[in-house]
């Protein structure tokens, strides 16, 4: 079997990183070529890489592959081309994010072919009049644009557009898989995002160095409101007893949300008397590894969860440290004993859980150990096996999906209202021969 694997391969792409590891494992079973359209420098990989541009003649070769896999994420510069090709050559889509709203809003609203009507029409097609209304008001500046609000984009995720010519879908959480199944007809499968064996290997998962000092809390990643760091800091400021027992380190690029970050810094400075908080910004890998190694607890209170899953979470778990998280998205699907989970958005519960963890080193070690063991089982091999099964299942379903897609496309073009009996006629009569 020969697989074409579309992915961003830019050095800072987490999905590129994923591709290098997973496609690398896949190549042990089948022939794999990576297809990338971004300009160098590219991530290091031993796999063959085909550089393409949308519309280039190279793409006609895809007909010779047994399957095409598209890695779809919400970042326009990385995924625009991938989506474009996916419309021409049906394949399996790996949904890395829960929403693709920014990808498509960007595609439709920016650039020479921008079409506001298209955005409104698609919002209507997927979410009815409510969606069209939200799109229109956003465009007219009559409301906060949908694409600027995490809660809103979750209501209008637009990932449906990414699946128009899919023959199968992989998600990284069961919840998202169920969501897709309710809106899309073909085979869908949830696979755990793997913890890369390389990560497992290079990360020291042993217990943190014993220390009599304060318990070290750490949050890693782009500093933005979604990580709820400000709420954690407020929580500590409001609880001097807890605050006195901990240090809280925040690491990661802090140049994205400038006013948010400066507000945060101001708050920390204002409460310097009772807070032991450092905002370090971006740090080189060696330093980051050191910080993570020294940490006792990872605080990872994302809300809402936009990603399908998170490689950085897997990395934190690989360090064998307890991760404090909310129960939303894929966090909610991790085995309960391997993380410390509280209801989404509940900072009272988060505070209580943190206090308990801070006071119980044994528990920290136990949960961390389980986390490390869990990561050893979430390996690339497991993922690849699931992927190959899904590919086989999808290829079996492809003729039926192609058929239904062609019929739906024609009826859609004719604006045949779904209330006309033809839909039922086809479903009751002809679709009986298709085993989906």
């Amino acid at each position: 079997m020969k697989i074409a694997w579309f992915t961003p391969l830019a050095e800072r792409s987490a999905i590129g990183e994923f591709s290098v590891h997973v496609a690398g494992e896949l190549a042990k079973f089948v022939e794999v070529e990576l297809w990338a359209s971004n300009s160098p420098p590219l991530l290091d990989t031993e796999l063959a890489v085909v550089q393409y541009r949308p519309g280039s003649t190279e793409l006609s070769r895809l007909a010779q592959y047994d399957a095409v896999v598209y890695n779809m994420g919400d970042y326009l510069p990385f995924h625009d081309d991938i989506h474009t090709v996916s419309r021409e050559h049906p394949g399996v889509v790996i949904l890395h994010d829960r929403v693709l709203h920014h990808l498509f809003a960007g595609k439709w609203l920016i650039g020479p072919d921008a079409s506001r009507e298209l955005y409104v029409e698609r919002m209507r097609a997927y979410y009815g009049e409510r969606g069209a209304q939200a799109a229109r008001l956003s465009l007219e500046g009559e409301r906060r644009p949908v694409w600027e609000s995490d809660e809103e984009v979750l209501s209008y995720p637009l990932y449906e557009e990414g699946l128009l010519d899919a023959i199968g879908v992989i998600t990284h959480s069961e919840g998202q898989a169920d969501d897709v199944r309710a809106r899309w007809v073909g085979p869908v499968r949830a696979l755990h995002l793997p913890c890369y064996s390389e990560t497992l290997h290079e990360v020291d998962g042993g217990p943190p160095p014993a220390s009599a000092g304060p318990v070290r809390l750490l949050t890693v990643g782009h500093l933005n409101p979604n990580k709820q760091v400000h709420r954690v800091v407020e929580m500590l400021a409001a609880d001097p007893e807890l605050s006195a027992q901990v240090t809280y380190t925040i690491v990661g690029p802090d140049d994205g949300f400038k006013s948010y970050v400066s507000d945060l810094r101001r708050f920390v400075d204002r409460h310097a008397d009772r807070l032991n908080v450092e905002i370090l910004g971006w740090q080189p890998p060696e330093r980051l590894d050191q910080l993570m190694r020294q940490a006792d607890i990872f605080v990872n209170l994302r809300h809402p969860v936009m990603e399908g899953s998170s490689a950085s979470l897997m990395r934190q778990l690989a360090y064998g440290r307890p991760v404090l998280c909310f129960g939303s998205g894929f966090f909610g699907e991790l085995p309960g004993e391997a993380v410390v989970r509280v209801p989404a958005g509940d900072f009272v519960a988060a505070s209580a859980a943190l206090r308990e963890l801070v006071g119980d080193r044994e528990r920290r070690l136990r949960v961390g150990g389980l986390a490390r063991t869990l990561m050893a089982s979430y390996n690339e091999r497991l993922y690849v096996e699931g992927l190959l099964e899904l590919i086989e299942q999808s290829r079996r379903a492809a003729p039926a999906i192609g058929f239904l897609g062609a019929v739906a496309r024609e009826l859609g073009n004719m604006h045949v209202d779904s209330q006309l009996p033809i839909y039922d006629e086809i479903a009751n009569d002809f679709a009986r021969i298709l085993s989906i």
Partner: protein
């Protein structure tokens, strides 16, 4: 070139479109092409079926064909990369007949949905054609009005115009057509009552119903026109028709609101005869220019006057007959042009 003529099919029914398809088929072969008629069944009752047939046409694959020539809704939706339309008509029930007694599709919510689907599908899929020709101005006009599409007119010629001839401008006017209320032979008879000259009228054609014939005969009887109006109430064969045309002074053709110009007009023109028609006859007006190659009149009274004028002025008849023949060339009604356009 392998040409597929794509037409609708109502099983067991043959009409003008079937005839045109056959003529076109024969002519294409005569011009050195390979031609085949593809008939796609269309059933429009109950109206929900229309959608089925529209989708069906979209899903058909016409392989091993270089050119598709499509005539009608919904067969013209058939996908092909080299498709031209010789449009006879769209589905008029959704357009100009909507809101008339001929609407057929009920004005229920479902009916509205079906109608909108037809309108939208036309707007979308007719664009796939490389070119669109229509068989009359009115069809082209409607296409532009309802679907926003440009088209070019391509009048269908007679299969074989060679046998049409003019032997003399005799003393009778000829009205060849199926005898039916819509063709209004009875008004032609009525006009004869007001004719002052010695002109006679010959009406020939199969009555559609007994009632149609009775209506006509009672007009004749009422005005005591038995000597001046002759009715041949049956199909006449080609020879008889050619002979009656060859000796006629002129032709009368009075259909109500027809789409196409009607072969009667064209046959008369080939036989170098002027044609008298009504202002509400529809397609005939695309060929007949009042006072040049015939007369376009408002009512029975004017019809009688036109008959008199042509009867009394021999040189006028000859001039108008020649103009009628010239009209065919001016409008380029020929198979050369038809085959050229449709295969280019």
């Amino acid at each position: 070139m392998k040409v597929a003529i794509v037409n609708n099919q109502a099983p067991f029914v043959r009409g003008g479109a079937e005839l045109l398809a056959e003529w076109l088929h024969d002519k294409l072969e005569e011009y050195g092409h390979q031609a085949e008629i593809v008939r796609i069944p269309f059933q429009w009752n109950p109206p929900e079926r229309i959608i089925d047939h529209m989708l069906s046409a979209r899903l058909i694959r016409l392989a091993n064909v270089d050119r598709v020539i499509a005539f009608k809704f919904p067969a013209y939706y058939v996908p092909h990369e080299s498709k031209v339309l010789w449009l006879l008509h769209q589905f008029r029930q959704a357009y100009d007949l909507w809101g008339t007694p001929y609407q057929d599709i009920p004005a229920t919510p479902t009916g509205h949905r079906i109608r909108e689907a037809i309108v939208d599908a036309d707007r979308r899929y007719l664009q796939e054609a490389k070119r669109i020709y229509t068989n009359s101005k009115i069809v082209g006009h409607r296409l532009n009005l309802y679907s926003g599409m440009e088209s070019e007119i391509l009048f269908p010629p007679l299969l074989d115009a060679a046998p049409y001839r003019c032997e003399e401008y005799g003393d009778y006017f000829f009205f060849p057509s199926r005898i039916t209320a819509g063709k209004r032979q009875h008004l032609a008879a009525e006009a004869m009552a007001a004719v002052a000259s010695s002109a006679r009228l010959i009406i020939a054609g199969q009555p559609e119903t007994d009632e149609d014939l009775r209506r006509l005969m009672s007009v004749i009887k009422e005005h005591e026109l038995e000597d001046r109006v002759e009715v041949i109430p049956r199909w006449i064969d080609d020879d008889e028709k050619l002979r009656l045309l060859a000796g006629a002074r002129g032709v009368i053709y009075l259909p109500f609101g027809e789409d196409s110009y009607g072969y009667v007009t064209l046959e008369a023109f080939h036989a170098r005869k002027p044609v008298i028609t009504f202002t509400d006859s529809g397609g005939t007006l695309e060929l007949i220019e009042d006072g040049r190659n015939g007369y376009v009149v408002d009512d029975v009274h004017d019809l009688a006057a036109a008959i008199d004028r042509l009867t009394e002025d021999g040189s006028l008849v000859e001039r108008m007959g020649q103009a009628a023949l010239d009209t065919i060339d001016e409008l380029e009604i020929s198979w050369d042009r038809v085959i050229g356009c449709l295969t280019q």
